[in-house]
């Protein structure tokens, strides 16, 4: 398939997944605040921090109030990772490859975009919680429509790789939020407030119920284990890597465990590292450091996919 088309389907999926995750971030923080004991300061800055765009935010908004952060992450047309921008770009990408995707997919992206655009025009009378759940559902709907209406061909696999890499990255960032959210004091570790935050975190990954079925008790180690290493939960990092790897090998035709290009090597390497690492080792390395390295590795995989498949230079 055309490199440009593969690239666009890949990014179409990344942008939609990204929009979904921004909605998750913000929504869970909104919920968390409602549960927080009076006197605990509202913490919106960590949310911006996890996007990696804190400087940009400070330049344009100043203080990290709830209003500012929500506006920035949700409606800011100039901020390239806002929900609005993601949908705009997803739609542009879809529009540029309409002939390669199913018309149902296009209609779903187009509807999704129109819904978000409409919401952005009247942010003040918007039920935020309702809006975020609409964003999440629209993203699921897109993934479902894509699975059910597009041939599971090369383009579909590139799309899935895009979605899985984006999701792995965002799950890492969601976990990292916990690192930045400050407890009022060190004594609060292990208290109900701490647990509340871990629950919020699981919820933002839609993982609360599934986690409970597996581990029952909420402990930081088990949450990390679940969100990083679980092989069955669809938002865990390892699950995403396994899926992405499967698609990558479907595209190239080589079997897993071997590599023929840098993208396969980088992805295979990261995936197998997670195959054998334990949560204790992660804690020893420091969760934040571990996640930071992981995000770097994911960026590297993204770059290598581009170099291998999308950026064919002909001299």
């Amino acid at each position: 398939m055309l490199s440009r088309v593969a690239d666009s389907i890949y990014w179409l999926n990344r942008y939609i997944e990204r929009a979904e995750n921004v909605a998750r971030f913000v929504d869970v923080n909104l919920n968390l605040l409602l549960d927080s004991p009076v006197g605990v300061a509202q913490q919106w800055e960590p949310l911006v921090l996890t996007t990696g765009d804190l400087t940009l935010f400070k330049e344009n908004y100043g203080a990290a109030t709830a209003d500012n952060v929500i506006r920035f992450l949700t409606f800011d047309a100039k901020y390239p990772n806002s929900i609005l921008s993601c949908l705009q770009m997803a739609r542009e990408n879809a529009r540029s490859v309409r002939e390669s995707i199913s018309s149902e997919m296009w209609e779903q992206v187009n509807d999704f975009y129109l819904m978000v655009k409409d919401a952005c025009q009247r942010p003040d009378d918007l039920d935020l919680s309702d809006f975020f759940s609409q964003v999440k559902m629209s993203s699921h709907l897109f993934a479902g429509v894509m699975n059910a209406t597009m041939s599971h061909n090369e383009g579909w696999h590139f799309g899935r790789i895009g979605r899985m890499i984006e999701r792995a990255d965002k799950t890492a960032r969601i976990l990292d939020v916990k690192y930045f959210i400050l407890l009022p004091s060190v004594k609060d570790v292990g208290t109900p407030l701490d647990e509340l935050q871990w629950i919020a975190l699981l919820k933002s990954a839609s993982g609360y119920e599934m986690y409970r079925k597996r581990q029952h008790r909420i402990t930081p180690q088990d949450v990390v284990n679940f969100l990083v290493l679980d092989r069955e939960f669809p938002r865990s990092i390892q699950f995403c890597l396994l899926e992405a790897e499967r698609s990558l090998h479907q595209i190239t035709g080589s079997s897993r465990g071997v590599w023929r290009n840098p993208a396969e090597r980088a992805l295979g390497k990261l995936r197998s590292e997670l195959d054998y690492i334990t949560v204790e080792e992660i804690t020893q390395r420091g969760l934040h450091e571990f996640l930071d390295d992981l995000e770097t590795a994911l960026n590297d995989i993204g770059r290598k996919i581009r170099e291998t498949f999308f950026a064919l230079e002909v001299v």
Partner: protein, 478 residues
């Protein structure tokens, strides 16, 4: 109820013989419309428009900065062409395309028509669409104009005329298909009652036409649609047609000439391309042959074409037959190449470069329509009766300065069709652009794009000038 007081006025009306008397082929439709309240009609109109927006059946407006996409205004009252008229039109269009294709072959070959003195050489060489680099070329199977959109109008007495030919990259076929899709949900019952000829095989016919150009020894030729990109006004159409045919939609940057062939950049390396349905103009096709500043084309593609290693549709150079001055010679061409009389007449045309004609044109600017020979989209026009004295003087000067560039025609009174305007049904002027494909044989898609002038009283139907569209129903003889 709504159509009972509809007044066709002093015009040829596409649905009515006179007030209260629908044309026989339109009867079931008129009855259906009359059974609906105006509110219902408006509601259906809205949902049709909404459906088109959802489908993304939009066009881009260059000057419109805010959100460059718009839905082409769509009227839900279709225009009907009787099976009898259609059979005649179809014959006429086939004849015309046959003659034009012979002309193109001739003009880039032996130029017999020039040598025999039917068309002055100067006219050919001064035509913008004439491409010297194409002299001596022979496209596959001798076919130049694979896809043509011919604009037809009807005058006050109902007589059909060919208004112009579009042989470069005629747009609009996608709207024919999308409009029909929407109409089937808008008036499903009527479709059951009337023998409306289906338009849906256009994409299949187009694909066959393109495959017909591929070298015969290839088992599975690669066909692509070449678009200037997402910001082109007809991008929706490009992607729609590629999708309907199941072929790749490519941009210039996806293609490259390598190892003497045209190739596209895929995730698995380069892949040979055999047939290109190109939707970019000749001038932009190859910066090494035509405009050096073009970023849209593919350097070297013309050389590959010249060697017969890739087919282009339409063939480069067909624009010469698009020239409105050349248009005036089509009746002669038909006679010359086919030995027949032209079936669908041209609009009488004055050529300003002929002194006698020019004098007549300058003396009658208030009665004539003046058109630039090489413009399209409704640009470069003077509608004499509606123009101010200053505008007429401006055109008079232009004509005197470059007479070759102008033709003039009497103002026709275009036929009208009932159209929903706000909460009323009014007669609006229409034209018709059928699509003709020249593959193994000549195929005319039954119907075409009816464009409607949505500004009250306006004669200009171009989408870039505020026109809209209607579905066109060719009603077969049941």
């Amino acid at each position: 109820m709504k159509l009972d007081d509809y007044d066709p006025g002093d015009f040829y009306d596409e649905l009515f013989v006179e007030r209260g008397q629908p044309r026989p082929e339109a009867l079931p439709l008129v009855e259906r419309i009359n059974s609906l309240s105006i509110e219902e009609l408006m509601q259906r109109q809205q949902s049709a428009q909404k459906a088109l927006l959802r489908l993304g059946a939009t066009f881009n407006v260059y000057s419109d900065e805010q959100g460059t996409e718009r839905v082409l205004p769509f009227d839900i009252i279709p225009r009907i062409v009787s099976g009898h008229d259609w059979a005649w039109l179809e014959r006429g269009l086939k004849q015309r395309i046959e003659a034009l294709n012979r002309f193109l072959s001739d003009i880039y070959g032996e130029q017999k028509i020039v040598k025999d003195g039917l068309i002055p050489e100067d006219l050919i060489y001064s035509s913008k669409g004439f491409l010297k680099p194409c002299l001596g070329m022979e496209p596959p199977n001798g076919i130049w104009c694979h896809i043509t959109g011919t604009d037809l109008v009807r005058d006050r007495d109902g007589q059909w005329y060919v208004l112009e030919d579009n042989l470069r990259c005629p747009s609009g076929a996608s709207y024919v298909l999308e409009n029909r899709r929407v109409m089937k949900t808008t008036f499903p019952l009527v479709f059951g009652q009337m023998p409306i000829l289906p338009v849906d095989d256009y994409a299949g016919q187009l694909l066959e036409t393109l495959l017909n150009l591929a070298p015969p020894h290839l088992d599975d030729p690669t066909v692509v649609v070449l678009t200037p990109g997402m910001y082109n006004s007809a991008y929706f159409e490009h992607s729609f047609l590629a999708q309907q045919m199941g072929v790749e939609l490519v941009q210039g940057s996806d293609l490259v000439v390598a190892d003497g062939y045209l190739q596209m950049k895929t995730t698995k390396g380069l892949q040979r391309v055999d047939v290109v349905y190109r939707r970019i103009d000749d001038d932009f096709l190859d910066p090494t042959t035509f405009r050096p500043d073009s970023m849209l084309g593919i350097p070297g593609i013309m050389e590959v074409y010249r060697r017969g290693r890739v087919a282009l549709a339409n063939a480069p150079g067909t624009g010469v037959a698009d020239d409105k001055v050349i248009y005036a010679y089509v009746p002669k061409m038909v006679k010359y190449y086919l030995g027949e009389d032209q079936i669908i007449p041209n609009v009488p045309t004055y050529l300003c470069w002929e002194p006698q004609d020019q004098a007549h044109v300058l003396a009658n600017l208030d009665k004539l329509v003046v058109k630039a020979a090489n413009e399209s989209g409704g640009y470069g026009m003077l509608i004499g009766p509606h123009a101010t004295p200053e505008q007429r003087e401006d055109f008079a000067e232009r004509i005197r300065a470059t007479p070759r560039n102008y033709i003039a025609q009497p103002t026709l009174t275009l036929s009208r069709a009932p159209t929903l305007m706000g909460d009323r049904i009014e007669g609006c002027h229409v034209d018709l652009r059928p699509y003709i494909l020249y593959g193994k044989e000549i195929y005319v898609n039954p119907g075409g794009l009816t464009r409607v002038a949505l500004r009250r009283g306006s004669l200009v139907v171009n989408s870039s000038q505020g026109g809209g569209t209607k579905d066109t129903w060719v009603v077969g003889n049941s």
